[in-house]
Symmetry: C2
Subunit: 451 residues, 2 copies
């Protein structure tokens, strides 16, 4: 069989690449090959343990893609022959392609600590059967220890305390979400988690997972302390799935991801790679990064899909900004670009603008949340390098405003005088709009306009 | 008395100008002169009739401004002497200024129809005592007719049906919110209002307000039909307060607003004007516009405040984009820039990109709303001209993303490949992010990339 465009992997990156490719190349045949007939919405996985009553509610609907004319094949690709442009499959005959997009995703990283193979030690794999198999055991557990206070660790903690478990969260660094946020911004996040019963232990590492008859019984910390546990969730990151690419001579980078250029092309002609299996570059520092994020994956995948046959749609990845958001009980948070710490570590001379207000106006309206914004600017150029927000549910779209500001290299004076809309039930007030106020506070630190 | 900076008017425009001026010119004295000791948060006014239990919850807190060092004087300015740079006041001695900012706001426009002076005919004045005086009469009314289906008319309708009145909304054009939205986008908005009991009458004009012993008894439409009413609210717009400016020789524009340049300077040296009393210009067409919007007012006011003494902070108003949002019961809506109709009327050759999805992912999560996005692009340049959204409460910040995209002249391919963050509880999914999908659908209409 021959297809014009073949995508290996059907998660957000593969799916977005396929849709973009098909929309822009209507007459080309597009095939997605994936291992499972159904796949979970990856970001929705933590919610199947608490908020969502049924895991089937978190299955990605592929009907819209099929309606567009994208075909699906459930199979496993065993080898890529980049010379003949063909794929060897496990259960079907060979498939030849004109253009190939590798979107093989990532697998949880299991740290080399003693006891990581005990019964009751879980990772958050993006596989439907595996996730199904661990829901009930976790719901029945008495004491759960979650290792790693990144987004997955936090969302899992928050969901599991909703179903009344004793949950302890362990983080080696000094605060929760230490890679995306400065520690000052996550104080209210930790407070909310604690209030709802999550025991948070920062600056602490796991020395060993303890077992009893092959089953988890506890976690021993580096300081010797033992925390009782009948289940342990390891949430310390993912590693790119690159076995297939590597075996076919595709270049792999320093962090183990596939090397790709600004159009997501690999070193092999007509073979592209997108998503978690790719080694990203940071938007500002241009350094390789370990970032894995479904939305970034989807953005880059679209660039690949639009530029498969020629570079007529001039659009390249300028590097990853990493726009994160999450929501834990009554607090939401978002981050984009560099943190203050990262910017300083990288050698940027910076100015920080901050604001604190409310996400409705007047603040006496129901469901009003405190809204804090922190923005990091380059001192010399005034360009925004990063931003962090805590507040209510509007935080998710608000961080996308600042993500766009970063992409457009906007400056503090521009943001301080930007136009925006406000509405009592939906946003802060016109005089208090937090992005503008934080930017203005940054401008006031540099512009000694008059004496 | 002498102040470096004097602002006439203490609403969003005056307040934002004062704060920007003080933050950037710390050693300058700043005085706000306003008529009332307390002022309402203007956009919050509709909510004092329903959602907010107490009107005092909607009073603007001026303590943060005072803390910054801004002084307040409660008085009325009777005359501006632009030669001597001094103000004549009603109750105090003259005040001289170095820089003056006029922010005198606007007053509801009362159409010249018979019966507009009857007892029980109200407008939504931004005056605390007036608003206080009409709350109880409206709550006690049986039949309320609201004339004008702009934002104020809609929000008033929505609030008043919450306190169980029979509310009829009359609009001369063919749909609700006819200036900010294309009619196709407001179908669900009208459905929500109708569902909650608002009788909507479009394509209908009021011929006369009928009275009985000096009191409102009904509204007679142009077609002869009579609607019973014991209260009528006229919500058909506002006119700029320019009496003071006009009497001091400041130029007034074709729509009756003060003429100001890109730095909000009037024709008189050292006198600036901001907010509703100013005649705005449209961002794309450069035509004078009647726009009155607190957030636009505040943005422009900051530009004035930052550029009072010199133009060191290079930032001018590029024209008003008009970024609106509102929320009515379970639906929220936002609009920015030109509608499809306006763009066509102005002679733009356009492409429209649309998307329909959900504001959470998976959509089975609670409080999930249908989210529709419509984006209007220039066909030749690809630049975004306008956008409209209906959805859940995140619409308010989402339209600010598109407002920013307009300000940065972003194109459809740029928006189709933009980076953004997604999160199950806060946004659509990574593969379905509606701004990107709508932009991609526009790109697909123009980019015949391959056959």
């Amino acid at each position: 069989m021959k297809y014009d465009i073949v995508i290996i992997g059907g998660n957000p990156a593969g799916g977005a690449a396929a849709v973009a490719a098909k929309k822009l190349h209507k007459n080309k045949s597009v095939l997605i090959i994936r291992k499972e007939p159904q796949s979970l919405i990856p970001c929705g996985i933590p919610y199947v343990f608490g908020t969502l009553k049924n895991i089937d509610d978190n299955i990605k609907n592929i009907e819209p893609a099929k309606k567009l004319g994208i075909e699906f094949l459930i199979d496993e690709v065993l080898a890529i022959n980049s010379e003949n442009k063909c794929l060897t499959l496990k259960n079907n005959n060979e498939i030849t392609f004109d253009k190939l997009i590798i979107a093989t995703g990532s697998t949880p990283f299991s740290p080399p600590i003693k006891g990581n193979d005990l019964d009751g030690v879980y990772t958050i794999k993006k596989q439907i059967e595996y996730i199904k198999s661990i829901i009930q055991p976790l719901k029945n557990a008495e004491n759960i220890v979650i290792v790693g206070a990144g987004f997955i660790g936090l969302e899992m903690s928050d969901e599991l305390v909703k179903v009344c478990k004793k949950v302890t969260l362990i983080e080696s660094m000094g605060s929760v979400l230490p890679l995306a946020f400065d520690s000052d911004m996550t104080i209210p996040v930790a407070e909310v988690l604690s209030k709802h019963g999550v025991q948070i232990r920062t600056n602490t590492m796991v020395d060993e997972i303890l077992g009893d008859n092959g089953k988890v019984s506890g976690v021993k910390l580096k300081n010797g302390e033992v925390i009782k546990a009948d289940k342990v969730i390891l949430a310390i990151g993912y590693k790119p799935n690159t076995h297939l690419a590597q075996n076919s001579g595709i270049d792999i980078g320093i962090y183990g991801g596939i090397v790709s250029d600004e159009y997501l092309r690999t070193n092999k002609p007509d073979i592209f790679a997108v998503g978690d299996c790719v080694e990203h570059r940071d938007f500002f520092t241009r350094k390789q990064s370990k970032l894995m994020l479904a939305s970034t994956a989807a953005s880059e995948a679209r660039i690949a899909g639009m530029n498969l046959f020629d570079l007529r749609v001039i659009r390249q990845t300028k590097g990853s900004i990493a726009i994160f958001s999450s929501s834990l009980h009554e607090i939401s948070m978002g981050a984009a670009g560099l943190t203050e710490k990262q910017a300083l570590d990288e050698g940027f001379d910076i100015i920080v603008g901050q604001s604190k207000g409310f996400d409705h106006h007047p603040a006496k309206l129901e469901n009003t949340s405190v809204q804090k914004v922190k923005m990091i600017f380059s001192k010399s150029s005034g360009v925004i390098l990063g931003a962090q927000i805590t507040g209510g549910p509007s935080t998710g779209e608000m961080i996308n405003i600042l993500g766009l500001a970063i992409q457009k290299y906007m400056t503090a004076p521009e943001l301080a005088t930007m136009q925006y809309g406000t509405q009592p039930m939906l946003t802060a007030g016109p005089g208090d709009y937090p992005i503008v106020i934080a930017a203005m506070n940054a401008v006031a630190q540099t512009c000694h306009v008059s004496e």
